[in-house]
């Protein structure tokens, strides 16, 4: 299980990385960030890129900062960085909870937030987070920067809107309001395994205790994580209750179209939605 041969390129500036990609992408050159998905695929020879453009030495890609109401995450920020809150309020806490579900601690030392989005594994956590939190992707190439909404970026199973010569230089996530409530629940076979189903719920309660702007996303079930509008509609304007959450969970189970093992994954969708809602907001 040794990778097929390749040439390794280690640019130190973004411009250099972009020109390398422009030159090598047509030959199936790939970006190497954390490598925790790409290198196993190469060891198994499922992936055989003849060139790797290693962005770990590119200056400025390790940015992790809050500015202008946004959390900016550079291309080489590792999962482990999120284990302690990186943003004020609910967003930092939410990311710190979610990150504990990503593989295992040593993998989190190298794997990157942006790499996970580029890999677009439907069972991965960050794509679900990006979709539910309406993150924006910053794609960079010799043609310049391009901003892509997460929902447009994630196109399918292991498929994104990134052009072959583009590099995901960073992601921006809007901060959550201080009063935002959230819940995240994941089911996997063993600790650290990929999700069989996961739900991320974010909502607020108005002064009357009614749910406003609920966001409910499901990952691990379909080819791409997505928000379920029908479930959000069930919740909008309602007062939290066990019955309401059960109805929402039922709606979620009905709304998904699982890739495999449909009956079981629907049942898991119901369970994770219900539990995430209860976590977000004690009924």
């Amino acid at each position: 299980m040794k990778p097929a041969p390749f040439d390794w390129h280690a640019p130190t500036t973004l411009a250099e990385a972009a020109s390398l990609l422009a030159r090598l992408a047509p030959e199936d050159g790939r970006v190497l960030a954390g490598g925790q998905s790409l290198l196993p695929a190469m060891a198994l020879r499922v992936a055989r890129p003849p060139h790797l453009v290693d962005i770990n030495r590119v200056a400025g890609l390790d940015v992790l900062a809050v500015e202008g109401g946004l959390l900016r995450i550079g291309a080489v920020v590792r999962h482990v960085a999120f284990e302690k809150p990186v943003a004020p309020g609910p967003l930092g806490a939410l990311l710190a909870e979610v990150v504990r579900h990503i593989a295992h601690w040593p993998i989190r030392q190298r794997g990157t937030f942006c790499g996970s989005l580029c890999h677009a594994d439907p069972a991965a956590e960050w794509p679900l987070v990006a979709v539910v939190l309406e993150a924006v992707m910053l794609a960079h190439s010799l043609r310049g920067d391009r901003r892509i909404a997460a929902v447009d970026f994630l196109r399918g199973l292991l498929d994104t809107a990134l052009a072959p010569d583009e590099l995901l230089r960073g992601v921006e996530i809007p901060l959550l309001p201080q009063d935002a409530c959230w819940g995240f629940v994941e089911v996997s076979r063993r600790a650290g395994d990929f999700a069989q189903a996961m739900a991320l719920v974010v909502l607020r309660l108005d002064a009357q205790g009614r749910i406003v702007t609920p966001r409910v996303g499901i990952g691990g079930v379909e080819a791409v994580p997505r928000r379920l509008a029908v479930v959000e509609a069930v919740l909008e304007g309602q007062t939290p209750s066990a019955a309401l959450f059960a109805a929402a969970a039922e709606a979620a189970a009905g709304a998904v179209d699982p890739m495999e093992d449909a009956a079981y994954r629907r049942a898991l969708t119901r369970t994770v939605t219900l539990r995430a809602l209860h976590q977000a907001c004690p009924a």
Binding site: P3, W8, G35, P40, R100, W105, I107, R110, A191
Partner: protein, 156 residues
């Protein structure tokens, strides 16, 4: 596909090596530096037998290229003991019968080293979560946890 000449700093010693880009850090440690204590159990990042510390962080040496490790401080199982004396974690592993075949042991020792350096006051649940990164097929894990807890208790 050119070879790369580089220097790896392992347990404080410099190793001047020449490797192709595809050589993993684990293979470089084993084949080029002669440090075969780092084991390969899966080569796809799941089993943790190849866990080493790179600048203090526990990583899978099978999922890092040797060329990426230049300039980093690498620590492996060979660096734990001082001369003939096992370090406290190694000693705890033998005292608590935390190894049988010993193949996974270097990976667990390095993982636990990183855990204890990060936070010796870790709760048991947190320890279990961290240790779940590595696979052992002989011990059933219980004694590995006991060994790590014993060292943690002594450090607090």
């Amino acid at each position: 596909m050119k070879d790369h000449a580089l220097t790896l700093t392992v347990n404080g010693a410099a190793h001047r090596i020449t490797v192709p880009a595809r050589r993993s850090l684990a293979d470089a440690l084993r084949e080029d530096c002669g440090l075969t204590g780092t084991h390969l159990g899966c080569e796809h990042g799941v089993c943790g037998a190849c866990t080493v510390l790179v600048d203090g962080a526990p990583i899978r040496a099978c999922l890092m290229l040797a060329v990426q490790a230049e300039g980093a401080e690498i620590r492996t199982v060979e660096g734990l003991a001082s001369g003939g004396t096992l370090n406290p974690l190694q000693q705890a592993f033998t005292d608590h019968h935390a190894l049988q075949c010993g193949f996974c042991t270097p990976g667990f020792l390095m993982l636990a080293t990183a855990m204890l350096e990060e936070n010796p006051a870790m709760e048991e649940a947190e320890m279990v979560d961290r240790l779940s990164a590595n696979l052992c097929r002989c011990t059933g894990y219980t004694n590995i946890l006991r060994a790590v807890q014993a060292v943690a208790a002594a450090r607090r």
